[in-house]
Subunit: 184 residues, 2 copies
């Protein structure tokens, strides 16, 4: 199929963004991982590295958003608890050298990263909006809901960093243990 290669390139880019960051993601590695040829990447992504990175961040953002939309929203506590349970496997990947592809494109803003920052910003916003709506449905006020949602995403991002460093899920588990009581 024609789009198979393009898809694998994005897939590879996501993985490389997580492990090496934006500046560390090279076309050489993307092509090696996706099995494509050198020139093909510019056929699918005329905008070069920036466009590929944006597509990768976008795909990652959509996957997470879709994931968040499935969380239960009966009470604030069950929502927060279900959130942490569901992201735990994702953070586990960070403990093995991974990370968040969306967060990755926010670093190395030298030059072209203007549109990448915007992509990441709208990704985080969409996640927080999704959770915020659910917290509202669970009974929190508009402002409390947004604060709670922001805290969840903040802890998630921080846990990515600490768990990648510690190569363990311990930081995540400890942060969650300290944080969960907030939600009743």
């Amino acid at each position: 199929m024609a789009t198979g290669v393009r898809d694998r390139m994005i897939e590879s880019a996501v993985e490389l963004l997580q492990r090496r960051g934006l500046a560390g993601m090279s076309f050489t590695e993307v092509l090696a991982a996706s099995g494509g040829a050198r020139g093909a990447i510019y056929h699918h992504f005329p905008g070069g590295k920036e466009q590929l990175a944006r597509a990768a961040a976008d795909r990652n953002a959509r996957m997470v958003l879709d994931h968040l939309s499935r969380l239960p929203e009966d009470t604030a506590h069950t929502l927060a608890s279900a959130f942490f349970d569901s992201v735990r496997p994702v953070v586990a990947a960070s403990a093995q050298g991974g990370g968040c592809a969306v967060a990755a494109v926010t670093v190395d803003s030298g030059g072209s990263a203007g549109t990448l920052l915007a992509t990441a910003a709208s990704a985080f916003d969409s996640w927080i909006d999704q959770l915020s709506g659910k917290f509202s449905n669970a009974g929190l006020s508009r402002d409390e809901a947004r604060n709670a949602a922001t805290l969840l995403i903040t802890v998630l991002q921080g846990a990515h960093v600490l768990c990648r460093t510690a190569q363990t899920l311990e930081p995540f588990d400890r942060a969650v243990a300290a944080c969960l009581p907030t939600f009743g």
Copy 2:
């Protein structure tokens, strides 16, 4: 003075790690910012980029640790509150394209980053240990203290990411608002 140049190189490296990440930090920029000559960098840091990055992460880690050691420890709430107040200006730098130099060296672990990961790990540990001790003195149990300390550092790191992306302190302020009640 002989060590003046070396010092400025580390200083520049810290700033570049924060803004561009490990892979994005180039000697060209370090030298341009520190005013040194091309070869001099290998005189002071024979281990090359890895050694310079380690020195930079180390310096940043020590500054933060020294900072944390000055926080009050009468109650858990005043400690957490003072912590967030004191790191707010640091996160503000992230909102303008900055970040955490220690977190930066945890990305791009391709090849040499083994010792860099270890450096970052001991940095985060030292921060958590420091806060944990203060939470203990404030009356928390050993385990509660460590959980609380881990949460603070996790929120800090997550806020770096979200605030750099949003180019605002709003994510930090919201996360703190949702998080602070946990501490009584």
